[in-house]
Symmetry: D2
Subunit: 344 residues, 4 copies
């Protein structure tokens, strides 16, 4: 058995794109369109997203990737001495090669719980800094929905954070690389239309939910809207072919495809988790979306690795928490196979 025949639970972006997306891209034919997001496809996609969010005044901008969305949005929002508050597991703090610091801003972290930040965490950063000009000034709270450990915020949790932020002059920004998996999670009572009321800005991830590539940045706060396209261009994020992202989001948001794909990936993760739990294994974090962290004895991990691709998340003495991701493309029989192999 060769390496390439292993089935991969490594990521939710391991397949090219949902067939419907590719079909629509091809169907455009030789139609001519405006560059830089001023085309009809992008305009329609933005309209559909605004409708899904019930946010007629939100600004929508398309960009190729999530790290890029984060750095453009955050560096656009902050003055040089202003800083970000994030959970220690936050993608911007761990896995973006210091992209935020490279735009000049410090990230102040707290441990959080299950990848989530609490109001208490935010409060402790704020009170530690006070009004001391010898320290940075925390100004923007960054959270992920769903988080790096596959968990979600409830509406009450997010509302509490939002309330604290507004009362304390902080922006709330949500990294929604896996927003579909969050909103469609049974553990999450948030609706798309809650987000514009609670957050100042966020992005809706396409790359990890069936798109060929692309994310939709949503800006709700009037102040953050100003001149955003300049920033997008300056950081290299304003693509001539933005229409190619617009077409995709139009397809994803026209008739429920975005949610449908997220639901499939959650269903596959649930089936996988249920099976694993039935076999007596535990999880590092609650199972809530399409990313699960079961803990297996090391010899089992080694055996599974022969047939499946996945990452080790945390190593303990004789056990390892592994990260398994399902996607819009995960076939049910691969889940069955995994569970059968695990049983053996």
């Amino acid at each position: 058995m060769t390496l390439s025949m292993k089935y991969s639970f490594k990521n939710d972006y391991s397949e090219m794109a949902h067939p419907e997306i590719l079909t629509v891209l091809s169907d455009v034919g030789n139609e001519q369109f405006e560059g830089y997001g001023l085309d009809e496809h992008s305009i329609t996609a933005a309209m559909l997203i605004r409708k899904a969010l019930k946010a007629p005044y939100a600004d929508i901008h398309f960009i190729a990737g999530g790290t890029h969305a984060n750095l453009v949005m955050i560096s656009s929002a902050l003055r040089p001495h202003e800083a970000v508050i994030a959970p220690k597991s936050g993608h911007i703090f761990v896995h973006e090669t210091g992209a935020i610091e490279a735009t000049g801003h410090k990230i102040c972290v707290r441990d959080g719980l299950n990848g989530k930040l609490t109001v208490g965490d935010i409060e402790s950063v704020v009170s530690e800094h006070g009004d001391d000009e010898h320290m940075v000034k925390p100004k923007l709270v960054y959270i992920s929905l769903s988080t790096e450990t596959g968990t979600v915020y409830t509406k009450a949790e997010l509302a509490a954070i939002s309330f604290y932020c507004r009362n304390n002059g902080l922006y709330l920004y949500i990294d929604g690389a896996r927003l579909g998996a969050a909103i469609n999670s049974p553990a999450c009572d948030l609706k798309y239309s809650d987000l514009p009321n609670l957050a100042d800005a966020f992005f809706i991830g396409g790359t990890k939910n069936g798109a060929l590539f692309g994310e939709a940045i949503v800006i709700c706060n009037e102040q953050l809207k100003v001149d955003f396209r300049y920033l997008l261009k300056q950081r290299g994020g304003l693509l001539a072919k933005t229409a190619a992202i617009g077409v995709q989001f139009k397809t994803l948001f026209a008739g429920g495809l975005y949610d449908e794909l997220a639901k499939h990936s959650i269903a596959m993760a649930k089936k996988l988790a249920d099976g694993i739990r039935a076999l007596g294994y535990e999880f590092l974090c609650p199972v809530e979306t399409n990313l699960i962290l079961p803990v297996f004895p090391n010899e089992i991990v080694d055996r599974l690795r022969e047939h499946y691709g996945f990452y080790d998340w945390q190593r303990f003495e004789d056990k390892t928490a592994v990260r398994l991701l399902t996607s819009w493309a995960t076939p049910e029989d691969k889940v069955d196979c995994f569970l059968a192999d695990l049983k053996e």
Copy 2:
């Protein structure tokens, strides 16, 4: 007649992508691949590009857009006090919203001729700066091939610049957003395989030559190769779905499609230019690629604008130089139409 029915000569990226590209993207199906350019498609594409360049040791990196390619490459190459030398018409100086300065580096410009920089221009910047620590230190020469005015460097011209750069400790970097149009221009005696010998780094543009999106950065200088993927990630340019670019470049470079598309766009521009010249009009710059700058009386420009999309390039008292771009997708009959309308 509605706006959308105008035929546009505004850009060479007004159509989605060449059908073959879209077909190949669809054909990948549910195959799983590694993220971040470590997939088979990107690896094969890089191999094909290296072969075309006769540069087995060049590093190839894929990125979504040209402005992004420029800023990642340049900011990776320079220490904070080092600066860029560019022609005044250079894309990085005029139309990238200060992207290079946003990474901390000054651009020192010279007028150049027809969008091209001469050795004399470069020399004058170098001698003006000397070894004075109160001034920036010029370290990288930026040129475009083809240029913003559609012209090309000859092999002799590029070799002279390259020779000067090597003797003076300067990097030579080429913005190849329209590299296909340059290499396939009858006015240009450069071959792909000349570039790795003459330049330290460059990029091969996909966006403006039939790709859905994407550019291939080529690094030849060993020093510039070091840790480049870190920079790519830090600036938001390392896409999870790099495979989607890899597939496209594989298609473009597997059997000559890249050149074929460039040749078509040049042929259309030539036909357009010949027709215009036959009607007695002049050009602001030599006609060499797929971007031409004819000068028309203002009333003619106004009339043409009713039926065709294009940008005004430079306004004189009663004349205007307009910018007409043809592309891989330009139908010959649209060129005929334009010439017929012009004749009237």
Copy 3:
């Protein structure tokens, strides 16, 4: 004759400090003071400066040097995509090693006249950029008073620039490294109290007018005042020993010493210029402050260089414009000597 015996007209900061300044520094003795500008000396100095400016609400911040003042102020005022408009001879553009670009901002230059920017210059930068997000957004006008060529703006000239800036959403910032020489120039009808009405921010130079070191940044625009001390600290400009600058400015502004020193340096320059003109030589720019640019035949320049220190400003075929600076410390007999030597 050794090198060190040459008398230097190179700069107005070639001597340590005016004796009164050094005396006052010594007189402080072992008194304890607060750090970072919160001491009584700095507070009193700020009060005296506000009084001289008739600007009771201006914010005053002390910093060690002029390049530093420029980069902290400008980077504090601008969002990432915003740019500076400056004359081509501007210190920030030529002689600060790309300090402004290093904070991320482009400088858009115009030739200007005699080192001065006109409203037409500013207008042409603004109209060239329009509202195009592919270009930077000009937001701050930088001028020097007096300029790099020793000239001054009249009140009418400065008011016209200020009026244009306010009507077009631009900040006006004045580099006042040689503000004393400007305000005390017979060619300048501006008073200190005009500046807060016309400019959004500026700095008053101590280094070039008798201080041991130090500049006083003055911020008049409420928006630019916000959190400025954070920026000052972040860029390394908030000195623990700010009191050492405060004491100096207290001394300079308590009883007219600042103007007295400027007047002396202007008087010495005038005497020098009158003598040079009487001998039949011309000047590159009007003689208005303590920096003059006489044009001498090259063989005369070579002879003078044997006995005097100065910089060549601009070389012509057989002539050279040299830069001569007088200072608060220039002895009249050195001026006489120079003129006598020139006569020979």
Copy 4:
């Protein structure tokens, strides 16, 4: 009793400057000197420092303050994706308003012990990052000598760190704002001449040891020397009046004044600490230099605060660790007073 009559143990830079320094500054008179550190005073001072360090090839640069020294040195040494390793209490991490991040670099922290980083701390940062381009690349170790909690590294400790750094391609940089207090500490067996062998660069603090202002940056690693003056200028640190710092360091290092002042401040701290310990109080960290952290019951702290200035360092339920600093200027009778008041 007014506020200003409280004796302050807040800082070691609360007094203007040692009288000898001020005398020498005055004695220079109207002598003319070159700008930007090219003067005889700075050259002599550099020579004396090299001699004290037994490092004839070290490069010496003078700068006004410590935060500035740190940011210029660190941003000069690193490529954009490279990061700093520091203790969590490190000045650059806590009290420099994100100055390092503002130059684009992330700081990776470990708790350390008593303000000191161990080889194990550094190793854990390095191994956590591996060769993963999705994370920053740790490249420079930052430590303070003495530390923020008044402790020192022994020669063995520093040698172990240095050895690890060299074997792992890391630069070692020492913040020596209180280097005098460290080298003259009885707890420290390091000599000045050990530093160039163990560190790649460091600075010798003047501001906190009797100078009016100023620090001396010492660069030992050849690679870090390249073009450093450009960086110094670009970040606003190259003062026209560098001679004013040169004169001071010449004075401090000509005849042992630097050590003499440090010894006095350590002796005062020792007396203070001995007295406090004799009264039965404990300390948060070992007492090793001129900064001590005694722990007092809160009501005692409140009473002491009526007569003495100091900062609270860490608050416990009913106790507080306060920070007491002595300096070159601390009179012995103030120490006696403090102890007498404490006894009461």
